[in-house]
C-alpha cells in the first residue's frame, strides 16, 4: 500500500470512527463536560470569606471556591486529603504536621504554600476580623498571645518548608484534626489586597472560580480549568437565591433548577412518585431533633417527670404523620449516620401508662403545667401541636409558645423556658455531639437544659483526650446511655435529608453533615436530546 493510499484510508477510518462516536449515545456512566448547573439557596450567603461565614448556605458556595486543608468523605465521614496530601499526629497527640500538595494554584495564578496555611489560621485569630472560628484554633500554642497582640505570630505554627507546616496544640484534643476539615486556605496576597471586599469577591484554589454576585438574586461561578484534581465537569455553576420553597418547587418542576432540597411537605410527592423516586437522594442527616427539657425548672428537675415525657409521646406516629416519613425515630443522642450510633440502645418506648405511673411517683398524679417553645414557623407549630396532644393525654397541660427563632433561642439560653424544640448536630465526631450535655456549656454554649452529671462530664473529657477511635466511641456511648437515662431531652427523631435532581444530572453524593454541601466538581449533566 502506497503511503498516500494509507493516509487516505487512515483519514477515512478516523472520520468514520468520529462519526460513529458522535452518533453513539453517551452512557449514563460516562461523565460529560459542559453545561450550566443551577441550584437554589434559601437565602443569600451574605459573605464568602471562609474566616467569617458559618451559615450552611455560605459553606455550600465557599466549599466550591476554596480548598480545605483536609476533607471529610461524605460517605465514610473519615478525614481525607484536601490541600494537604498527607498529615501526621505526634505520639503525645499535640503536634500535627501537614504536607501540602505541590502545584495547587490559586485562581489568580500563584501557587499555594505553607505560608498561606499559616496566614489562613492567623487571620482567623486576628480579633479585628471577628471570626466565629476563633475558638477553633485558640488552643494552638501562642494563639492567645497573638490574639491579645502580645505576639506578632502564633508560635505554635511553624512553616518547615514551602510545602510543610507543623501546628502544635497546647492540649490533647482528639477532635482537633477535624478543625482542618473546615480550614479553607486563602491566598495571603489577595486577602490582604482586597481587605473587607475579599468576602464579596473571593479568590480561592477550588474547582470553581468566582464570576459575579447579584445579591439576593444569583451567584455565578465558572469551572477552574487548572484545578489540581482535574477540571470540573460542569462549566458554570449558578446559585439562585429562592427563599420561598413553593417557588423553588415551581422552578424545579419547570426544569430551571437542576436539583432541589426536599422539605417535609414535598418529600413524599417525589419519593413516592414512580417518575421521580429514582432521582431522590436521601441521607440520615447528622442532626437530632429533640425537645430540650430545662432540668433546673420544677417539676422538670425530677428525672421521673422527664422520663414520663419521653414515654408519653408516640414518636413513630409523629414521624410517619407530621414529618411525612422524612425522619427516623430517635433512641438517643447519636443518629444512625454517626459511627457512635448504638444499635443496642432502646431509648424510650411509647407507653402512656408508664408515663402516668412515673408522674404519680414524682408526685404529679394530676399532671402539671408547662410551656412548649418553638420558632414561629407553621411547621414548628404543627410539631408543637402534636406534642401537646400526647402530653395532654397523660395529664401534662402544655402551653404552646411560638416566637421568632432568635427570641426562643435567647430565652432558652437564659434558662427562662421549660422546654424548646430544636435540632442540633455535632458533625462526624461523637465528642462534639456531647458538647450540649457538658456542664461547662450552660446556656448559649449549648447546654440549654442546664443538665449536669459529673460522670457524663468525666466521660466526655476522657473521650476528648482519646485518639483511639474505638475507645472513644465506647466512652461516648457510655455517656450517651447515662444521658438517655437522665432524659434532659425528649429524644424525638433524626432528620432525613433528601433532594431530588433532574433525570440528566449525575454524580451527586448526599452529605449527611449537611445536604446542601455537595462537591459540585464531581457532578455532571447529560445533554438533553
Amino acid at each position: 500500500m502506497s503511503t498516500r493510499m494509507f493516509q487516505r484510508r487512515a483519514a477515512a477510518a478516523i472520520v468514520a470512527l468520529t462519526a460513529f462516536a458522535l452518533i453513539q449515545p453517551t452512557t449514563a456512566q460516562t461523565p460529560v463536560y459542559g453545561g450550566h448547573f443551577r441550584r437554589a439557596l434559601s437565602s443569600d450567603p451574605a459573605n464568602l470569606d471562609p474566616a467569617l461565614t458559618n451559615t450552611s448556605r455560605a459553606i455550600a458556595v465557599k466549599m466550591n471556591i476554596f480548598d480545605p486543608l483536609l476533607r471529610q468523605n461524605p460517605r465514610t465521614l473519615e478525614l481525607e486529603p484536601g490541600a494537604a496530601e498527607s498529615w501526621s499526629v505526634s505520639q503525645d497527640g499535640k503536634v500535627l504536621t501537614f504536607r501540602l500538595r505541590r502545584g495547587i494554584r490559586f485562581h489568580h495564578g500563584r501557587e499555594m504554600t505553607a505560608d498561606d496555611v499559616k496566614y489562613s489560621i492567623e487571620r482567623i485569630l486576628t480579633p479585628e476580623l471577628g471570626s466565629p472560628f476563633i475558638r477553633t484554633f485558640d488552643r494552638v500554642v501562642g494563639a492567645q498571645q497573638f490574639t491579645a497582640k502580645q505576639a506578632r505570630e502564633v508560635s505554635g505554627i511553624r512553616v518547615l518548608d514551602p510545602y510543610r507546616i507543623q501546628i502544635t496544640n497546647s492540649v490533647v484534643d482528639s477532635t482537633f484534626p477535624l478543625s482542618f476539615g473546615s480550614l479553607y486556605i486563602v491566598p495571603k496576597d489577595e486577602a490582604e489586597r482586597l481587605g473587607r471586599d475579599f468576602g464579596q469577591r473571593p479568590v480561592g484554589s477550588g474547582p470553581f472560580m468566582f464570576v459575579s454576585w447579584s445579591r439576593d438574586d444569583s451567584l455565578l461561578l465558572r469551572s477552574n480549568p487548572n484545578y489540581w484534581e482535574g477540571r470540573p465537569y460542569i462549566s458554570a455553576l449558578e446559585f439562585r437565591i429562592i427563599p420561598d420553597p413553593a417557588t423553588a418547587q415551581a422552578e424545579f418542576d419547570t426544569g430551571r433548577l437542576d436539583f432541589m432540597l426536599l422539605s417535609d411537605a414535598t418529600y413524599r410527592r417525589y419519593a413516592e412518585d414512580d417518575r421521580w423516586k429514582a432521582m431522590v437522594i436521601e441521607v440520615a442527616e447528622l442532626f437530632t431533633r429533640h425537645l430540650g427539657l430545662n432540668t433546673q425548672k420544677p417539676p422538670l428537675n425530677d428525672v421521673r417527670v422527664r422520663q414520663a415525657i419521653n414515654h408519653a409521646i408516640d414518636k413513630a406516629t409523629t414521624v410517619r404523620t407530621i414529618l411525612q416519613g422524612k425522619a427516623v425515630v430517635a433512641t438517643g443522642v447519636f443518629p444512625p449516620s454517626l459511627n457512635a450510633y448504638s444499635r443496642t440502645l432502646r431509648g424510650y418506648d411509647y407507653n402512656p401508662q408508664r408515663a402516668r405511673e412515673l408522674l404519680t411517683q414524682a408526685g404529679f398524679p394530676n399532671g402539671f403545667e408547662m410551656d412548649l417553645n418553638g420558632s414561629s414557623s407553621p411547621v414548628t407549630g404543627r410539631w408543637l401541636e402534636a406534642l401537646q396532644g400526647y402530653l395532654t393525654a397523660v395529664g401534662i397541660r402544655a402551653r404552646i409558645v411560638q416566637a421568632d427563632f432568635g427570641v426562643v433561642l435567647d430565652r432558652a439560653n437564659k434558662g427562662e423556658v421549660m422546654s424548646y424544640v430544636l435540632s442540633v448536630g455535632g458533625g462526624s465526631n461523637c465528642v462534639n455531639w456531647l458538647g450540649p450535655f457538658r456542664s461547662r456549656n450552660f446556656g448559649a454554649a449549648g447546654n440549654r437544659m442546664f443538665y449536669k452529671n459529673d460522670r457524663v462530664d468525666a466521660l466526655i473529657d476522657q473521650a476528648e483526650r482519646t485518639f483511639d477511635s474505638r475507645r472513644q466511641i465506647q466512652l461516648c456511648q457510655e455517656a450517651e446511655r447515662l444521658i438517655v437515662a437522665d432524659a434532659p431531652w425528649f429524644f424525638w427523631n433524626y432528620n432525613k435529608a433528601a433532594l431530588v435532581h433532574q433525570p440528566n444530572v449525575h454524580g451527586i453524593i448526599g452529605n449527611p453533615l449537611e445536604m446542601d454541601w455537595i462537591r459540585m466538581d464531581k457532578v455532571w449533566i447529560q445533554p438533553r436530546r
Binding site: N47, D49, G199, S218, T247, T254, G406, L409, S423, V424
Partner: protein
C-alpha cells in the same frame, strides 16, 4: 409655580430632621428591646452553640460592648456624615447594600403602580358613570375580591398557572421586564388597583353631581372632555393622596411579593436583617423608607396645587 412654594419645601425638609431622629431612636430602642442577640443569631445558626470567647471578640468588633446610649450616639454621628455603618451579617457597607437593591424595588413598585392606576382609575370612572348597572356591581365585586386576595396566594396561583401549567412565564427571578416583571407586578398591583377603583368611583360620583360638571355639559362640551378635564381632575385629589401613600409602601418593600418571586428588593433585605438583628442594616433600611415617605408625601402635597389652583402654599 405657586407663590411660597420654596418656603413650604424648606419648612417641610426642616421638619424631616426630627422625623429622621425620631425614626432612628424608635428603631434603635425596638431592636434593643426585642429579645435575640445578634452575635448569637449569626454564630449559632446551624450548630446552635455559641462560643463565649468568639462572641466577646465579635461584640467588640461591632461596638456592642459599649453602653447602649453610646452605641446610638456613635451611629448618629456617623449617619450625619453619611456613613450608615457596616452590616453585621454581610460585613459590607450598608448604604451600598441598600442602593444596589433600589433599582429592583423601584422597577417593581413603578410597574405595579402603573398597572394599578390604569386598571383602577378606568374601572372606577366607568363604574361611576354606569352607577347601579351590572358593570358597577361587577367592578365593586372585583374590587372587593382584589383587596381580599392575599399577595402570597395570588402570587403562587399565578406561578402555578402561568409558569408551571402553561409555561408562558418563568416562575421567578430578576431579569428584563419581559418576562420577569409581569407576575410580580400583577400580584402587587391587583390589591392596589382595587383600592384605587373604589376610591375613584366614590370620588367621581361626588364630583359628577356638582354644578360645574352640569354647567360643562350644558355648554355642550363633549362627554369625554367633561369627564377627563373637569370631573377627573377634581376627583383626583383623594386618589393622588392614596396613591402617594401606597407608593411609599411599595417602595419601602413589598416583602411578600419579593419573597414569592425571589425579587431582590429592599423589603427582603429588611426582613432578613431583622431576623438576625442586623442593627446597622435595619437602621439603614428604615431610614431609606422614612426618606421615601417624606419625599413622596411632599410630592403629593405639591401636586395638590397642580390639580387645584386654589391651593396656596403659605
Amino acid at each position: 409655580m405657586p407663590r411660597g412654594i420654596w418656603g413650604f419645601i424648606a419648612r417641610r425638609l426642616l421638619l424631616a430632621v426630627p422625623v429622621f431622629v425620631g425614626v432612628t431612636v424608635v428603631t434603635f430602642a425596638l431592636m434593643q428591646i426585642v429579645p435575640g442577640d445578634p452575635v448569637a443569631l449569626l454564630m449559632e445558626e446551624k450548630m446552635a452553640t455559641i462560643d463565649p470567647a468568639a462572641a466577646r471578640i465579635i461584640r467588640a468588633k461591632w461596638g456592642l460592648d459599649d453602653p447602649v446610649p453610646i452605641q446610638y450616639l456613635k451611629f448618629l454621628r456617623n449617619a450625619v456624615r453619611g456613613d450608615l455603618g457596616i452590616s453585621y451579617r454581610t460585613d459590607r457597607d450598608v448604604t451600598t447594600s441598600i442602593l444596589e437593591r433600589v433599582p429592583a424595588t423601584a422597577k417593581l413598585a413603578a410597574a405595579a403602580l402603573v398597572l394599578a392606576i390604569l386598571i383602577g382609575v378606568s374601572m372606577g370612572i366607568v363604574a361611576a358613570l354606569r352607577q347601579n348597572t351590572f358593570f358597577d356591581s361587577a367592578s365593586i365585586m372585583l374590587a372587593t375580591v382584589g383587596v381580599s386576595i392575599p399577595n402570597f396566594w395570588l402570587g403562587l396561583l399565578l406561578i402555578y398557572l402561568l409558569a408551571v401549567e402553561w409555561r408562558w412565564l418563568p416562575p421567578s427571578g430578576y431579569g428584563p421586564p419581559y418576562p420577569y416583571l409581569i407576575m410580580p407586578a400583577v400580584t402587587l398591583g391587583t390589591g392596589l388597583s382595587a383600592v384605587i377603583a373604589r376610591l375613584t368611583r366614590s370620588s367621581m360620583l361626588e364630583v359628577i353631581r356638582q354644578d360645574y360638571v352640569r354647567t360643562a355639559r350644558a355648554k355642550g362640551l363633549p362627554d369625554r372632555r367633561v369627564i377627563m378635564t373637569h370631573a377627573l381632575r377634581n376627583a383626583a385629589i383623594p386618589i393622588v393622596t392614596v396613591v402617594g401613600v401606597q407608593m411609599s409602601g411599595l417602595l419601602s418593600g413589598a416583602v411578600i411579593t419579593e419573597r414569592v418571586f425571589s425579587w431582590p428588593g429592599v423589603g427582603r433585605l429588611l426582613l432578613d436583617s431583622i431576623s438576625v438583628r442586623d442593627l446597622p442594616m435595619v437602621q439603614g433600611c428604615v431610614l431609606f423608607i422614612a426618606t421615601i415617605f417624606i419625599a413622596l408625601n411632599l410630592l403629593v402635597d405639591l401636586s395638590y396645587a397642580a390639580l387645584d389652583p386654589r391651593i396656596k402654599y403659605e
